[in-house]
Symmetry: C2
Subunit: 493 residues, 2 copies
């Protein structure tokens, strides 16, 4: 029996607006598409939260026994500024500012993105297609929409006719907006004179002579509209329809709405069976924004070089912080919240060590199997990580009780607890043990040796040497704390 | 005055067959294209050597003050098996074996490649274009060659007509082969019945029904020939002609020969002004080969999990080993050679530390400025790293003499030596200090503290404790060696 049969998954589907039992199209397989980054600037921590949310989902789907194909695109062209069509291609503009070509800019920030996501222990997607790598497919999709009478060409650009589409379909079904609302709302946006109606969106744009990224097309030499790439790449690699479509909450409208309209218009089908949306990260109660300076870059939070934080944090402590909230909830980042999360993360790691060293007893004071079932229950209930973490802290309590000799677990139960504690913490939540980096294991062992020598010095009443060891270690950022159970040490990041 | 004016660069150009003064097309700028990997299997150490060679070249060009655009492609489609045209696409075949789609396979090994090159401290190229991302451009190039009468279509596939090309141009100029020789040589290869002459090569191939990677074209739905992508991507991003074209020696024929024929045929120009070829890595005197098992994967050499090596090596020691040979020379890898290189690398690192701690004196016993000029002279002489390393070992000698009090350098000279020793070792050769990874700095400091405590124990004649410290460290792979200058330690990888 597969794990997904024992712990059947329910997911919140934004299109239906409710939690649903997840039923894959092909038994045992999941096609997951997630809208990736536009690589024209460094990835910020809000984006990282979204990618970590989908990494958790990817990890859990795999763990349940599904064969998952996870596709996350890279938008290296076509995202128009102001989400309207008068703007110029964000990439081309930034490139001119930095005197770099769009492809150099895309490469710089793609490399940056990969390195940062690696630090947070995100797994690479199975396919990472680029918008510029799928121009023929995008041109074909435009041709198809023109053929269906749902798009029109003006001066070499092609627009999707939202009103026409709405006559036979229902535009706005995902974001629950009516087309009349949209017209009112979009009146403020700067449209181009070319569009029949302000809510229409570009499928293909004629390139101005300065525009660097350009391809020949049946209309004008130009570039594709932003919404089109996801329609084309998701269905190329996952089929139509596929299982799950994910992205940030801010992509619901207009991006995902347009994807649905394009796919239904061209092929008569909603592209995905389940629509997932990850919520945003706020900073000290406010939306992150570059213009107000209320923002934080991942490396600044790791290194402690952001003014809102007193020190840096281990990437796993940051990941743990994010896992404390459900992916569909807003999460607020602050120095206090991070310190709390760091403490929790270390507690978890210490308990894991305690469990590894624990000895089994003759009775079991704790029903480990129920704990396992409830933990899986949390994850299978729309990936509820905060509930899973509460379950993990129940286990932390028992681990500490066992260590102190106040509780006991039989061999089989202890083994199961160890195994599942490891699975949930490392394999699914994607945390890394404190010592995972570089020579940290050796470092811990060498420090332990010093702690022993210091204990000997104290036993010999050689206080000078004992203090010398403590001070020299403190100077290296290694704190010794003497307690009832001996001396512990902690490493600053 | 720019550094490239003070130390003008000479490079060996394989097309002219001699070293030439390097003159860029645009003053102060270099366009460098290097043929990248086919991502259908893990990158082996021979490929890594080639990429490290071009990383050195990229680093030195940047250091000379050039504004460099370094393009290295990723071949994710179109490399036919047996370099002949009857074979099936290598990627599609492997994918079927692993039950993965070609794009998943390409992604897996692209991620693998990037992680490995990062370990060796290779800088990412400025643009890393993929063959599948440039289908429209490749189709255009085929159309152009057909228009010039240098290509012909058979059953939806298009071939380059080598004989026709040779009537007006000279096929084989890079590899110094005559077309008659080629006909004889290629008779053994399995050609397809479609080709007019056996030395013709595919520009576009009709896809069989099972073929997964396929695009529409004016001929048949299919995929581009391998040689075409480099022609299209190099000139798209660097212009025509561009400055330098690099690749492994094994790509000279047929790949680069075909690139030249395609570009001269279509546009009347040789694509690049200088052709560089990096030589191969042999293993214990023989060509690396998967079929005979005479091969080594980068991670196996780092971790010590290759049977031909007694232990693992720090990536920088491996990089240093490669830098000991000129990029155009064959380099043989063996356990002894690696041990020698590791010793040399550590000597260099120790001397760098000695230099940092050295105090200046009243006279200079060593002409540092000449040493600097000769070191640059080596690098500007076709990137001659073995000569540079010999110069660095001269500096090691002086660093040790200064440390021992047998020689002296005036303040300004000491400063210059330190600065350039750093530049050559880290910025240009791309080595990393021994402690660069993770907590290694802390580890060294903590070990030093233990070494001191052991010295105290010995001074107190507490042999038991002194031995205990040595043994406990040895158990962790940390070796202490007592010498005239005190105790040194070395870390196993």
């Amino acid at each position: 029996m597969k794990r997904y049969e024992i712990y059947p998954l329910r997911v919140y589907d934004s299109l239906r607006g409710r939690k649903e039992r997840f039923i894959p199209i092909e038994r045992g397989c999941v096609g997951l598409y997630v809208c990736g980054p536009t690589v024209y600037s460094p990835v910020h921590l809000g984006n990282v939260r979204s990618f970590i949310s989908y990494d958790l989902i990817y990890r859990y789907l795999n763990h349940l026994g599904y064969s998952v194909c996870y596709v996350r695109n890279i938008t290296d062209v076509g995202h128009l500024e102001r989400d309207a069509d008068g703007g110029e291609d964000k990439l081309a503009k930034k490139a001119r500012l930095e005197r770099l070509t769009p492809m150099r800019l895309a490469q710089r920030y793609t490399v940056d993105l990969h390195r940062i996501l690696q630090k947070f222990n995100n797994r690479a997607p199975d396919i990472e297609p680029m918008a510029t790598g799928h121009i023929p497919e995008q041109i074909e999709a435009v041709e198809r929409l023109l053929g269906k009478g749902l798009a029109y060409e003006v001066n070499g650009s092609v627009y999707f006719d939202v009103k026409k589409y709405d006559e036979t379909h229902s535009y706005g079904e995902l974001s629950r907006r009516s087309i009349d609302e949209l017209i009112t709302q979009s009146r403020d946006l700067q449209g181009t004179a070319e569009k029949r109606n302000p809510q229409d969106f570009a499928l293909w744009k004629r390139a101005s002579p300065q525009h660097i990224m350009r391809w020949k097309s049946p209309w004008a030499t130009g570039f594709p509209g932003w919404h089109l790439e996801c329609t084309v790449m998701s269905t190329k690699y996952l089929g139509l329809p596929f299982d799950m479509h994910g992205g940030g909450m801010d992509l619901k409208f207009p991006h995902h709405e347009c994807e649905i309209a394009q796919t239904k218009g061209a092929y008569g089908k909603v592209p995905a069976n389940y629509w997932l949306h990850a919520n945003m990260l706020t900073l000290r109660g406010q939306k992150m924004s570059k213009s107000t300076g209320n923002t934080v870059l991942p490396n600044d939070l790791i290194r402690g070089t952001n003014p809102f934080f007193k020190s840096g944090f281990h990437p796993s402590a940051i990941r743990f912080f994010m896992m404390q909230a459900h992916y569909r909830s807003v999460l607020d980042l602050s120095d206090e919240a991070m310190r709390g999360a760091e403490k929790g993360y270390f507690k978890l790691m210490y308990a894991y060590k305690a469990l590894q060293n624990a000895r089994s007893g003759k009775r079991s004071d704790f029903d480990v199997q129920s704990w396992v079932d409830e933990s899986y229950g949390a994850l299978s209930d729309d990936f509820n990580t905060p509930v899973l973490i509460a379950k993990l802290f129940e286990a932390v309590h028992w681990a500490n009780q066992i260590k102190a000799g106040f509780a006991s677990l039989r061999e089989a139960d202890l083994h199961l607890l160890r195994e599942k504690f490891h699975t949930f913490s490392f394999e699914i939540l994607g945390l890394q043990p404190v010592e995972a980096e570089g020579n940290a294991d050796k470092l811990s062992a060498v420090i332990s040796l010093l702690v022993e020598l210091r204990a000997e010095a104290r036993a010999d009443k050689n206080w000078a040497r004992a203090d010398q060891i403590r001070e020299r270690l403190a100077a290296l950022g290694i704190q010794l704390r003497d307690g009832r159970e001996g001396t512990r040490f902690s490493l600053e990041n």
